[in-house]
């Protein structure tokens, strides 16, 4: 698979013709990307800090996970759509940016981890899961999404 060809295609696609021509549209999409990122971050923090026993200790962790997962999904969809739009404006530049690839790698892992590991496991009764496994999952999940967000911010600086 030729990855560079994809970025070349994105760079000249109809998406890019909008994102490059209208700075205002780009800025608005960027704001939605940021707001969705904050929502995703909030849901990750609320869920994982509950698993660690820091927050909402008097609410069953199953309830916290179920409610935060719903809004996590919404935020992730908004992030992916707005993210693809934003990358079309600077596709070639991103291809050569190492923090972009750090972000993509951690994002891919994050999505895999949430939907094939964290969510299926947390569907079981939490009291039957080893508390240390729960804590490890929580730390790993917060770490992964932190790296995704922080690397994203760093694309702008590098």
């Amino acid at each position: 698979m030729d990855v560079f060809a994809f970025f070349q295609w994105l760079d000249t696609s109809w998406l890019a013709s909008i994102s490059k021509a209208y700075g205002g549209v780009f800025a608005v999409v960027q704001i939605f990307h940021l707001l969705a990122m904050l929502m995703l971050g909030g849901m990750v923090l609320a869920g994982d800090l509950r698993l660690l026993g820091v927050l909402l200790k008097d609410v069953p962790s199953e309830v916290v996970i179920e409610n935060t997962q719903k809004w996590f999904n919404v935020a992730l969809v908004v992030l992916l759509l707005s993210g693809i739009f934003m990358s079309s404006a600077v596709a070639i530049k991103l291809y050569y940016n190492s923090f972009f690839w750090a972000k993509m790698a951690s994002l891919a892992f994050g999505i895999f981890f949430v939907y094939t590991i964290r969510r299926p496991l947390l569907r079981y009764d939490h009291s039957t899961i080893n508390p240390w496994t729960l804590r490890l999952i929580a730390v790993a999940s917060m770490t992964t999404w932190f790296v995704v967000a922080a690397s994203g911010r760093w694309i702008g600086f590098s």
Binding site: L121, V139, T143, T144
Partner: protein
């Protein structure tokens, strides 16, 4: 996949990703320190 297997995979992957993240930031801190050393001797 049963719960026990899933739990083992979850724990293993979690440890791996935490180690990877620590390594990722450690390398970056080393980079910064090297730059600072170049700048200020």
């Amino acid at each position: 996949m049963g719960q026990a297997t899933l739990e083992k995979i979850a724990a293993g992957l979690s440890v791996a990703v935490i180690v990877a993240a620590v390594w990722f930031y450690w390398v970056q801190i080393l980079d910064v320190l090297e730059l600072l050393e170049m700048a200020y001797g």
